[in-house]
């Protein structure tokens, strides 16, 4: 038998006998046989599979971290060794949703602490314990805003990640929610005139980036003051930046969502990362996703359980706040371990170093005659005109071991020859100078 299947021939026979049948075939009395063998190879031994997979992995170029200047939602930060070591504990990895709270306190407490950390970072009152990614977190935020406000128009700054906007549209269209985009200014922040002109009675919420896709930090205070009180402010944020930027919760955000990959998760070719989702206490019963709460056991000992499960599908079915069941809990744990390792000061240092590195790169590019597209204040990403045939150059230097700023024109045709540059604490002066040699 196979090494993952423990049955011996003897046992199979004993079991068939207990069931009262004579063959495996009889187990399938109710099931038509429509296939006897797949057009797959037969199973291979571990050694051979390992060799094959290493071969495949080797076809992917692994850039040395300091030579990565690509961000756009997925960031290369240094991940302390303890993060991987602890998150790989198989008692976390091979557990499922904590349906039996008494034997899932590890999961539950870790997620409870994760929620707390996300509330602290965003300045919000409640967090759920994870969405799939930033894009779906935003889509769910919009759906929730509509559940709260019961109006069906949502404004969204065009400077949000195109994939986030598109995902939101995919989620919103069947609900007849109208998504309207708001233009940006020359400095990359939201255009207030356009914004004002689009707000109407039917507007449920405004979505802005903080920082936005172009790295520019929106003035949330001014935005909050500009839009009517009833219009909910949904902020898409990048969590590392929140170590230096004022918490959106302090500036009037109603929902803060975003991608949490930057907090200790490897890039994974884009997934899994994690969507974080925080909001105000008053909306908690309208919130999608899993929420963990503190309680006591019969002996008065503190413990943790899933709360407000009546919002969820297994109870509420078609009336659930969302269809999320499996989420990204292991990634929430990873975030929590990372944030425990960095603490407020470490995270601030990461943010500060990322900021400095990006500004150094921008300064040097400008010195070389490359122009930045937006002149607003940016965090660790910025868009610049990279010159003719940048795409080809980019592929060239990638083969050479440097993952340069991402060409934007394939995604955003208006940004011809433009690139989105990103720096973090792992980019050294030397690696930036090395990148610059290609410009």
């Amino acid at each position: 038998m196979h090494r993952y299947i423990p049955h011996t021939e003897k046992e199979i026979n004993e079991m068939l006998k207990e069931i009262g049948i004579n063959s495996i075939e009889e187990l399938y009395i109710n099931v038509p046989k429509t296939i006897d063998r797949y057009t797959l190879e037969d199973g291979k031994d571990e050694f051979t599979v390992k060799r094959e997979l290493i071969k495949i992995a080797n076809k992917n170029k692994v850039f040395s971290s300091e030579n990565i200047f690509a961000g756009a939602g997925i960031y290369t930060h240094y991940i302390p060794a303890i993060v991987e070591n602890l998150a790989n504990n198989q008692k976390f990895v091979t557990a499922y949703t904590p349906y039996q709270a008494e034997v899932s306190q590890g999961t539950l407490q870790a997620l409870f602490e994760y929620q707390t950390m996300m509330c602290e970072l965003t300045g919000m009152e409640v967090a759920n314990s994870s969405m799939y990614d930033g894009a779906t977190a935003l889509a769910e935020a919009i759906l929730m805003a509509v559940r709260v406000n019961r109006k069906n128009k949502v404004l969204i700054a065009s400077s949000i990640s195109p994939e986030y906007i598109q995902t939101s549209k995919t989620y919103c269209t069947p609900q007849n929610i109208l998504i309207e985009e708001v233009k940006w200014n020359n400095n990359g922040t939201i255009n207030f005139e356009d914004l004002k002109s689009k707000i109407d009675e039917n507007t449920t919420a405004l979505v802005v980036g903080y920082p936005n896709f172009f790295g520019i930090v929106e003035d949330l205070k001014e935005i909050r003051e500009t839009i009517p009180e009833k219009v909910m402010l949904i902020v898409v944020s990048e969590p590392v930046s929140l170590a230096i930027l004022e918490a959106p919760g302090k500036l009037g955000a109603d929902i803060v969502v975003g991608e949490g990959q930057a907090l200790g998760i490897t890039p994974n070719f884009g997934g899994p990362g994690i969507g974080f989702f925080t909001t105000l206490e008053k909306y908690i019963r309208k919130m999608p996703g899993r929420i963990i709460g503190e309680t006591k056991d019969v002996d008065g000992k503190i413990g943790y359980v899933m709360v407000l499960q009546t919002r969820e599908q297994h109870i509420r079915r078609a009336k659930a706040t969302s269809n999320i069941c499996s989420n990204h809990a292991l990634m929430a744990l990873t975030n929590a371990i990372y944030l425990s390792a960095m603490g407020p000061k470490g995270l601030r240092e990461v943010a500060k170093m990322s900021y400095n590195a990006a500004h150094y790169l921008a300064e040097k590019l400008k010195e070389k005659g490359y122009s930045l597209i937006f002149d607003g204040p940016f965090f660790n990403e910025f868009v610049f005109n990279a010159g003719e045939n940048y795409y080809e150059k980019w592929v060239e230097i990638a083969k050479d071991g440097v993952l340069g700023p991402i060409p934007l024109d394939k995604t955003l045709p208006n940004f011809k020859n433009c690139a989105l540059a990103c720096c973090t604490e792992v980019n050294t002066k030397e690696s930036i100078d090395n990148l610059l040699r290609h410009f």
Binding site: Y4, H7, I24, L27, N30, I35, R37, G43, E46, L53, A57, K59, F63, P80, A87, Q90, K91, F92, A95, Y99, A101, E102, V103, S104, Q105, T107, F112, Q115, E120, E163, Q166, T167, P174, L242, L245, K250, E259, N268, F269, G271, P272, G293, T295, G303, V307, L308, Q309, T310, H314, A318, K319, S326, L330, S340, M342, G343, G346, N356, V426, K429
Partner: protein, 481 residues
């Protein structure tokens, strides 16, 4: 103790590299500069190591013992999958790297798609959905797009059996459908006549799980498919229970138009306390154009993403799905192969029926037919007799070191357990489980309070869930507040 209580101002667990770059100050307006520091923990590396090590010790997991959680397919998660998924060539690649330097990742995804098409009997597939429910939503959006593309705008209804997973109606609703519930027949299966009654030109799709959540195979599936198609609707397959039919039949062969798979169930990627999972969606040829963006294609030996799909339902998340999960599933399929997958199906069904037979001597089986990968048993009689409920028995099982089965689901059975042993459990384990269950039933009869007050030996005892939801405390209460 929470990690926040371990925190001490000035303690640290980090040490960052020097980048030799000058300080640029900040050019944000003052009111956008952070005022109060987030109260993240300030702890040493050892504090963190002990905290999470001791938390993990409080978890039950597949690696600890038997986890017969029905409908969740808690099978063994092979360590080689973890090992290979952690290769830097898979974890440390950025999604925006040029395709010239990510051909391995693209090849793996392309091949996985092909293999999953073969296993499910579908013509095309997307690997993007991040969970089963995400796959369901994707599937429902495809159904919606399909009907609209034909100018058929009145198909607003989705039919969902009363035994279905809760995510089925929730996903249908999210895709804009009105959900119509279909009552199960007396034998726990779809009643064809009842179904016919619900089918009309407003029905867009019927969602089925086959075998269904009772572990019963829908024998009439071919007829069901014909009927549904006859009425112009689509047939959707919830792949949660695919493990049962591996090597025997395929959703595509049964007539399903759309199917989602749960890689974290059938294909042994770990459940991670709730995720990340992966819920690829396969479709028949006529629906391929609606699959989400991007699709992965192969052109003269080069693997590429194609974003140019005018009739696609669009983006359903960022990037390409949960790639690391895909790697694990790929390794699993390579390891099991055609022969291994067939054995998986067979042994999963053998285990379930063996356990059904053994459990039937202790409590009633809800629908005592030959089952597939799982079955539903009810302790209603015991409850009436002793007041001991399914929940109590579940908690008592924890005392004996076994994870409780799914309870109180499907909703059409009362005081029930949905028990799925999976193929990776041995006869010894099943026998042990039966023995313990038997013991608990004796306890319940002789000393019901003993069982009602269980568990006793767990890290915490029975928790007050009701008041936790009434007044939710969902974050740590910092003393200074």
């Amino acid at each position: 103790m929470t990690i926040f209580e371990l925190s001490k101002e000035g303690r640290k667990a980090y040490n960052l590299p020097k980048n030799n770059i000058k300080d640029y100050g900040f050019d944000f307006p003052n009111h956008l500069m952070r005022g109060k520091e987030p109260r993240l923990p300030q702890v040493s590396e050892l504090d963190i190591v002990r905290h999470y090590t001791n938390l993990a010790a409080k978890n039950y997991a597949v690696d600890v013992g038997f986890y017969p959680l029905g409908s969740c397919t808690m099978k063994y998660n092979p360590k080689i999958n973890e090992k290979l998924a952690s290769l830097e060539g898979f974890t440390m690649i950025h999604p925006c790297q040029p395709r010239e330097v990510t051909q391995g990742a693209l090849q793996l995804m392309y091949e996985l798609k092909e293999m999953l098409c073969e296993i499910s009997g579908m013509d095309d597939m997307t690997l993007i959905p991040s969970a089963g429910a995400h796959g369901e939503l994707t599937g429902m959006l495809i159904a919606r797009a399909y009907h609209l593309s034909r100018g058929d705008t009145k198909r607003k209804k989705a039919i969902v059996p009363d035994s279905a997973h809760g995510t089925n109606p929730a996903s249908a609703m999210m895709a804009g459908f009105e959900v119509v519930e279909l009552k199960s027949g007396k034998d726990g299966r779809i009643d064809l006549e009842e179904l016919e009654k619900h089918l009309d030109d407003e029905v867009a799709v019927l969602l089925l799980t086959n075998p269904n959540t009772l572990g019963l195979f829908e024998k009439d599936i071919i007829k069901i498919a014909e009927t549904v198609h006859k009425h112009g609707a689509l047939l959707y397959y919830d792949g949660a229970n695919l493990n049962a039919i591996l090597g025997r039949t395929r959703p595509g062969d049964m007539g399903f138009d759309i199917v989602h798979l749960n890689l974290h169930k059938t294909f042994s990627t770990p459940h991670g306390m709730g995720g990340p999972g992966s819920g690829p969606v396969g479709v028949k040829k006529h629906l391929a154009k609606f699959l989400p963006i991007p699709e992965i294609i192969k052109e003269s030996d080069v693997y590429k993403f194609n974003y140019n799909k005018s009739e696609s339902i669009g983006f359903i998340r960022s990037f390409y799905g949960n790639f690391s999960v895909l790697v694990r599933a790929y390794v699993y399929i390579k390891t099991m192969g055609n022969d291994g997958l067939k054995k998986v199906g067979q042994m999963a069904v053998l285990n379930a029926n063996y356990l059904r037979k053994k459990v039937s001597k202790i409590m009633d089986i809800a629908y005592p037919d030959m089952c597939m990968h799982e079955f539903v048993a009810t302790c209603e009689k015991l409850t009436k007799e002793t007041g001991v409920k399914a929940l109590d028995i579940a908690k008592r099982l924890l005392d004996y070191g076994i994870h409780a089965p799914t309870m109180y689901f499907p909703l059409i059975v009362h005081e029930d357990f949905m028990i799925e042993p999976t193929e990776t459990e041995s006869k010894d384990t099943l026998d042990e489980f039966t023995k313990i269950l038997e013991k608990i039933f004796i306890e319940a009869k002789e000393n019901p309070e003993l069982v009602k007050n269980a568990p006793y030996t767990t890290p915490v005892r029975r928790l007050d869930e009701a008041s936790a939801s009434r007044k939710p405390i969902v974050k740590y209460n910092f003393e200074e507040e």
